[in-house]
């Protein structure tokens, strides 16, 4: 075989030199002539009807415009799966931090000061802040007439009968927390109009092609009139998959015919982008006397907050991975994505697969304790090997190096056990 020219060779990353010298251009590093600055006014209530009065702010010296829902030239919406974000809230706010207006002024400082003069009158509505409550018939509704965005079901074997046969059955509830990506570079961007009328937006994004569609639709312009330039991206981890600055900047540049820039503070950044889904995980796991995992039932409820973002994909993945890397012949898994009036959640490293291990692994520890089996040996006994059939019906035919990994890790931490790593382990 010819040696690979790529594998095994370290390539210099093409942007490394610009990054170590400070020359890499992130969106906030762009300064253009005649540029003005925008600041976003956001809701302070989780659920309320609103009325916006911008007259006083418009009179503030240095203020050039205050854009609200009525100024949106196309569809006042965006969203990766469902168009359930408004560019600017029109009648209602559904979470704290939802954009209501964009104040444009000759300096960032002026824009911030004038923002305090935009009067938002709130008529508070009952909010639902727990997804388990939000699933109930009589709960306040965030969008439409049900808060349940998605229900994923996985069934294998006969779960009722299987639990009857188990020596131990462990039942527990686990909760994971809401987490921010906290990428180091807060959102920023610049938009300007090119000579031929193209609206160009320079920003740090994970999805320039999606952004283009969303901006075009919100502005009511054809795709070929929108250009997204991806600058250097100061970390993302899934948190730059939804729209933040793009449409506000594009709209302001289009209306004003001038370059418009915005740079979020860290606090605004926290309010503007998605979070990791907190999951409420109810688990019931059963094993036979010899430590064979035999049945598992899980109900997983994911808090999507006020917008769906990638909720379907995330909760599907949580459901698919809910049993962990173990052969369990009888499975019943239900996962749900649910709207609440909390900050919205979306993509974040692992996409739903990162939360479930704390549940399925602690279940196994508890079973091992009750059966008086070494927790590593019970994992070796049940984990996926070549030839294993997963709960979703896939036969693992290629390499499955989990056994070796567990053994190596166990040895590293000084565990003593009777498994021999050279022994061929049969599924």
């Amino acid at each position: 075989m010819k040696p690979s020219i790529t594998i095994g060779k370290s390539e210099l990353r093409i942007d490394a030199k610009d990054k170590v010298t400070g020359k890499a251009v992130y969106p906030s590093d762009i300064y253009l002539d005649n540029m003005v600055y925008g600041y976003t006014i956001r809701s302070t209530m989780p659920h309320a009807e609103i009325k916006v009065d911008k007259i006083e702010a418009l009179a503030y010296p240095g203020v050039i415009a205050v854009f609200t829902a009525e100024d949106v030239t196309g569809e006042n919406h965006h969203g990766v799966l469902f168009k359930d974000h408004e560019v600017f809230c029109s009648k209602k706010v559904r979470r704290v931090g939802e954009p209501i207006a964009f104040v444009v002024a000759d300096t960032m400082d002026t824009a911030r000061k004038a923002a305090k003069l935009v009067k938002v009158a709130y008529n508070e509505l009952p909010a639902v802040l727990d997804p388990r409550e939000a699933m109930k018939e009589n709960s306040p509704k965030v969008h439409g007439d049900s808060n349940i965005i998605y229900h994923y079901k996985l069934r294998t074997g006969d779960i009722e009968e299987a639990f009857q046969k188990c020596e131990v059955v462990v039942e527990n509830t686990y909760e994971s927390s809401m987490v921010d990506h906290a990428f180091l570079q807060p959102e920023a961007g610049v938009a300007y109009i090119e000579e031929d009328g193209t609206v160009t937006i320079v920003t740090a994004t994970q999805y320039p092609h999606y952004d283009r569609e969303e901006v075009a639709e919100a502005l009511g312009l054809p795709h070929n009139k929108i250009k997204i330039l991806t600058s250097a991206v100061g970390g993302a981890f899934g948190g730059r998959e939804d729209i933040t600055v793009q449409i506000h900047l594009a709209l302001a540049a289009l209306k004003l015919g001038r370059p418009v820039k915005t740079t979020y503070t860290r606090e605004e950044s926290f309010q503007a982008h998605s979070k990791r889904h907190p999951l409420y995980m109810k688990y019931k796991t059963g094993a036979l006397k010899d430590g064979t995992l035999y049945a598992m039932e899980a109900e997983i409820i994911g808090d999507s907050g006020a917008h769906a973002s990638w909720a379907i994909n995330v909760l599907r993945k949580a459901g698919v991975h809910a049993a962990g890397p173990y052969c369990i012949p009888n499975i019943k898994i239900d996962s749900y994505a649910v709207y609440t009036n909390n900050p919205f959640t979306g993509a974040m490293r692992g996409f739903g697969a990162a939360q479930v291990p704390m549940a399925h692994e602690q279940q196994i520890d508890e079973i091992a304790r009750r059966l008086n089996i070494n927790p590593i040996e019970i994992r070796l006994k049940n984990c996926f090997k070549v030839g294993s059939l997963t709960a979703t019906g896939q036969t693992l035919e290629e390499s499955v190096p989990l056994t070796d990994t567990i053994i190596k890790a166990a040895k590293e931490i000084g565990y003593e056990f009777s498994y021999d790593s050279n022994e061929e382990v049969q599924p």
């Binding site: 370290s10 210099l12 990353r13 942007d15 490394a16 030199k17 610009d18 990054k19 170590v20 010298t21 400070g22 020359k23 890499a24 251009v25 992130y26 906030s28 590093d29 300064y31 990506h181 906290a182 990428f183 180091l184 570079q185 807060p186 250097a232 991206v233 100061g234 970390g235 993302a236 981890f237 740079t263 503070t265 860290r266």
Partner: protein
Amino acid sequence: MNEQIRFNLNGKDMEIQADPSMRLIDLLRDELRLTGTKEGCGEGECGACTVIIDGITANSCLVLISQIRDKKVTTIEALEQEALKKGDELHPIQQAFIDAGAVQCGFCTPGMVLSAKALLDHNSSPDENEIKRSISGNLCRCTGYKKIEKAIQIASDYMKKDGVE
């Protein structure tokens, strides 16, 4: 109320008329367009805005320009100048960051490099703990720090070799 402020920036004497309550980071970025200094939090938590003032690292988001009177301020842009003077493309610390794979999104990198410089300028052979302490004010959300520590170790070797030649 502008005042006259004199200081040295990257080896050059400067005299500016400015509001003494302006933040140093705003002077560097918005006025002087030295955008290698980054703002990650604006409140002294992240270290992306690190500069060196009279040999000691400082968060330029927490420094008012009245505090830099008659002081020497070093930003990331100085390192290239230093390298060019020696006929090199990059400063050994910058080279080490590339060689160790310590750069990902790069937003923390200028601050990290300057923290490393402040350390290595005083201590050419730091041990692991000294390296860790030197970057304890700099957050990196991408790399997990290990490669950055390695980079500083390598940089110390490069700089010692440089000194011998």
